[in-house]
């Protein structure tokens, strides 16, 4: 059975890049555009992993991460946060919100896949 990954990302291009990358790597990709939708999709589809963008309209990535990690049923789903800039301090805040790992833009597709595979063996 194929592993499913929930991509929460508001930027079309970024979403497409991730979808193309992950699909070609053999994963099922579920997409959400806003933080609220992302949390709902996590509850609905129970993905195997979540890629969370930080800068989202409305509910931002930190808060969405916090909500998912606060849900007992979803808590074990690994969340990889995608920060915009490694040295901006976003990563610290992301870990505080409860994420499992982070990559910063621009990420190399190979690095991201390596990180995903750590969680989806």
């Amino acid at each position: 059975m194929r592993k499913s990954i929930l991509v929460i990302e508001d930027q079309d291009d970024n979403r497409r890049i991730l979808r193309d990358l992950l699909t070609s790597a053999g994963y099922e990709v579920i997409e959400a555009v806003t933080g609220e939708d992302g949390v709902t999709a996590a509850e609905t589809y129970r993905p195997d992993l979540i890629l969370m963008d930080i800068q989202l309209p409305g509910l931002d990535g930190y808060e969405a991460t916090r909500q998912i990690k606060a849900n007992r049923a979803l808590r074990q789903i690994p969340i990889i946060v995608v920060t915009s800039y490694a040295l901006s301090g976003d990563d610290v805040k992301a870990f505080e919100a409860g994420c499992n790992s982070y990559v910063s833009k621009p990420f190399s597709p190979r690095e991201l896949l390596a990180k995903i595979r750590e969680y989806l063996q």
């Binding site: 291009d13 800068q55 915009s84 800039y85 040295l87 301090g89 833009k105 621009p106 597709p109 190979r110």
Partner: protein, 618 residues
């Protein structure tokens, strides 16, 4: 009213007392004396009558016979009786017949006689200052009047007696008076006048300002008690005075040492200063308060830059009685203009007339300038804030599409969309490289602008230097391996736990090591960390081309690179070192480079092991 001494009054009282006693005694004794006098006179009359009866026969016969000589002898015999001064015999027609004292008889000759037979009269008459009793009787022979006889009795003895008793009475009275007066005067002096005079002297001393003066009185009577009360009062007065003085000194000290000017001025249109404190003089540029009072005689025209301010102040004071924080511009003595803030109030007398103004004066020139400066600074900060917000937004806006470009490019290169011919792969690699350069540039510009806007705040936490080095090593390991460079790390094993902004320190070190790898074509890159005296000493050495003297001086400036043509080839932004320098300095450290052309470079930096406070950037 004339002021009399106590002694005089007491003596007058004694005198009046004695006078009253004399009058009362006199009134009581007078009738007794009269009665005694009368009975005495009666006795004398009886005596004279007896003598006359004894001699009546002889006298009658001798007159009748006209025997003047015998009569004279008889009369002379009668004169022997004590008190009888003279005897006269008158003819029935009233003419003197015979007298023992002719002068006296002549004097009384004309006295009319109106005596009935056998009746005698006894009257008192005054003669030559003497009081004489005159016993008169008709001499009858066989019913026929043959003459009159007058026997003159001198009352001298009686008067002497009366006088003596009066004298004794008054002598006694006077003696009593003198004795009483003397005793009372003595008592008065000892018990009243002397203590009172002592008290008066003490009171005079207090009047002269010797508060606390006490008096020692010899007796514990009413005056003695008064003295004790006086002493108590004096001591209390002194205590009160001392307390008052202290309080006054306190207020004076406040007045003298206040840093705000304190003044009192006249309420007229011009205004004159009555009293000022040293701070007032200092604010107005005068040497002393006296100089201020002497020189400023027209506040309105001498001090006010705008005379209308003074009118406005006066209007406010008249209307409201007090003004707070009234701001105006004044001239100092040397003509300099200062901004002052005044608080003043009106002092009125009982009939509600304005006596003067009093208030405080504060020089707010610097405060005003400071607030002006603050306004400017706030504006500058707001501008910087706007600028950095703009930059943050811009960099995000630029980065987003750039990330997409880089993402797609890498996917294409990774063959996700199918095989890519080799020549296109090469072009796409150039696209990726330029894209990464642009992204680095944007990130650096953002960092630098944050630092310059003073918005880069270090997050100071505990960190381990070993971990910092490990992070950097992991990040650059593959880069070094790609260029076949040896990456050597030497960290002393017992480094203290540091405090600082770990990410920023990583950034600095990553920049230095990254540069070293980037510019070194062969050889090694060495990273060393030591600590001494609470400071980490970090060095990054390479075997690269080295730096010229000029480059060494300018390498930490923005957008400067040793060789710009080479930079483009290497893909640096020229901002990394200046950002590193700022970060090190914000940690209170120092960064520098040692290098010789052709012999490689060593970048050094120090940061305190424990950084508790961010060092402000100039």
């Amino acid at each position: 009213m004339k002021i009399r001494s106590l002694r005089f009054k007491i003596n007058v009282a004694i005198f009046i007392t004695c006078l009253v006693i004399a009058i009362i005694f006199g009134t009581i004794l007078y009738p007794f004396e009269i009665r005694r006098h009368d009975s005495h006179v009666k006795k004398i009359e009886l005596l004279l009558d007896t003598i006359f009866q004894q001699k009546y026969e002889d006298i009658a016969n001798e007159i009748f016979a006209g025997q003047k000589r015998a009569l004279a002898l008889t009369l002379k015999d009668m004169l022997k009786v004590e008190g009888i001064a003279a005897i006269s015999i008158y003819m029935p027609d009233g003419k003197l017949f015979l007298s023992t004292d002719t002068v006296l008889s002549k004097y009384f000759e004309k006295q009319s006689r109106n005596l009935s037979a056998n009746s005698a009269s006894f009257v008192t008459q005054s003669y030559q200052g003497k009081s004489l009793g005159i016993y008169s009787r008709e001499i009858m022979v066989i019913g026929q009047k043959i003459g009159d006889i007058d026997i003159y009795y001198d009352f001298q003895e009686l008067i002497k007696e009366t006088r003596l008793s009066v004298t004794i009475f008054f002598t006694l009275l006077l003696t009593t008076l003198i004795l009483m007066s003397a005793l009372l005067n003595f008592m008065l002096s000892r018990f009243v006048i002397r203590p009172v005079s002592l008290l008066r002297k003490a009171i005079n001393k207090i009047q002269d300002g010797y508060l606390g003066e006490t008096v020692a009185l010899p007796f514990e009577d009413e005056i003695g008690k008064m003295g004790l009360a006086f002493n108590e009062m004096s001591v209390k007065l002194n205590e009160g005075q001392v307390a008052l003085k202290k309080a006054e000194e306190n207020y004076r000290s406040i007045f003298e040492n206040a840093t705000v000017g304190i003044y009192r001025s006249t309420p007229d249109a011009k205004g004159q200063l009555l009293t000022v404190n040293p701070a007032f003089a200092q604010i107005m540029g005068y040497a002393s308060p006296d100089e201020v009072v002497k020189n400023i005689t027209d506040i309105k025209s001498q001090c006010y830059v705008n005379a209308s301010d003074r009118d406005r102040l006066q209007q406010l004071l008249r209307d409201q009685g007090a003004v707070q924080g009234f701001e105006a511009q004044l001239y100092r003595k040397n003509g300099e203009i200062i901004d002052v803030s005044m608080s003043a109030r009106v002092i009125r007398n009982e009939s509600n007339q304005i006596l003067y103004y009093e208030g405080i004066l504060e020089n707010i020139t610097e405060k005003k300038q400071a607030s002006q400066f603050r306004i400017e600074k706030e504006a500058a900060e707001a501008a910087a804030q706007t600028k950095s917000e703009f930059l943050a937004n811009m960099s995000h806006e630029i980065r987003t599409p750039l990330n997409a470009i880089l993402g797609y490019t890498e996917l294409v290169l990774d063959g996700i969309y199918g095989d890519v011919p080799e020549n296109i792969q090469e072009v796409l690699q150039r696209v990726a490289k330029n894209g990464h350069h642009l992204l680095g540039l944007i990130n650096d510009v953002l960092d630098l602008s944050k630092i310059e806007a003073g918005q880069l705040v270090l997050s100071l936490n505990d960190y381990s230097m070993q971990e910092v080095v490990q992070t950097v090593f992991t990040a650059v390991e593959s880069l070094a391996a790609e260029k076949n460079l040896e990456l050597k790390v030497s960290v002393s094993s017992e480094l203290d736990s540091g405090k600082g902004d770990e990410q920023r320190i990583v950034q600095v070190l990553l920049n230095l090591v990254g540069n070293a790898i980037k510019f070194t074509e062969a050889g090694e890159v060495r990273l060393e960390v030591k600590d001494s005296n609470g400071t980490f000493l970090v060095s990054v050495s390479d075997t690269g081309p080295g730096l010229s003297e000029v480059d060494k001086q300018r390498i930490f400036e923005e957008f400067h690179q040793a060789d710009s043509s080479r930079t483009r080839k290497k893909g640096g932004t020229g901002l990394g070192l200046s950002i590193a320098k700022r970060i090190v300095e914000m940690h209170g450290g120092r960064i520098w480079v040692e290098s010789d052309l052709g012999k490689g470079s060593t970048f050094w930096f120090t940061i305190p092991v424990r950084v508790d406070r961010q060092t402000e950037q100039k």
